[in-house]
Symmetry: C2
Subunit: 137 residues, 2 copies
DNA sequence: CTTGACCCTGTAGTGACTACAGGGATCATT
DNA sequence: AATGATCCCTGTAGTCACTACAGGGTCAAG
């Protein structure tokens, strides 16, 4: 067992996290509260480092904190079927796909607005016009 | 001038907005505070209806409230050049493009994870593995 | 001892809403 | 006039995932 002990600042730096965020995760129940030094400093070991890395990785992939929470619980039970893991990941992927579709549709509308803007004065502005009810203001 | 007067509920329904959101926009300074009835109900006219429609439309297109605020100010000055309007819209479009690219990259990673998941038990789960530091837990 | 960096807890803010709570107003019906 | 349903009011707090202080303590090096 790696006996390396880390302060919160060290843990944060190693995982590309802010100190405040680490404390937030602890408060949120995602990261277990660590032992403390005599000076009341948090004292992290490799277990915490691994867990925080997992959390950050999942967050970077856009999983919500609740999804991360569920994934962590699942990953703690190694004999469990990974069907639930799969389901979470697939639902998340579906959501990402929806967001992409929404944004692409949105971009098309913005393209239309911008490409039709002759850019003279506001009174003749096609962007303002298309934001206005009935294109009449 | 259309003399039609609307309550907040009517205004909200006509613009697909929640009553609370209308009050929020008023508090945020986006929508001017309307006259009041003797019973202290808000009393909206067509000007407000037009303005709220503009706000909703811009919000639907993903403009931030500050961007909407700027667009409203620009649209109130009809002799002004619409270069500033154009700039706001283009910046927003660029942001949407960035988001799309991010999400597409993210989706690729999720695809990779999910497609490699044999889905047996957690100990062999490729999703959990790819979330874990060094793929070793 | 001093200094600078880090740590602690608690609180509040971000952006854009959203949801109460408690109480008043309005309208239609009886 | 009473009643019930619906709407309105203000104020407060919550959502999500952080983020940024404020005020004070700890640690290590000089």
């Amino acid at each position: 067992m790696d006996a390396r002990i880390l302060t919160i600042g060290q843990l944060a730096r190693e995982t590309g996290t802010k100190v405040e965020t680490v404390r937030f995760y602890e408060k949120s129940g995602l990261l277990p509260a660590p032992a403390r030094t005599e000076g009341n400093y948090r004292s992290y070991d490799r277990t915490h480092l691994n867990r925080l890395s997992f959390i950050r990785r999942a967050r970077d992939l856009g999983f919500s904190l609740d999804q991360v929470r569920a994934l962590l619980a699942l990953s703690d039970d190694r004999e469990q079927s990974c069907a639930a893991v799969n389901a979470i990941a697939k639902e998340h992927r579906a959501e990402v796909e929806r967001k992409i579709a929404d944004l692409q549709s949105l971009k098309k509308e913005l393209d239309r607005m911008i490409d039709h803007c002759g850019c003279g004065i506001v009174a003749d502005c096609r962007i303002i016009e298309s934001l206005s009810p009935d294109g009449r203001r």
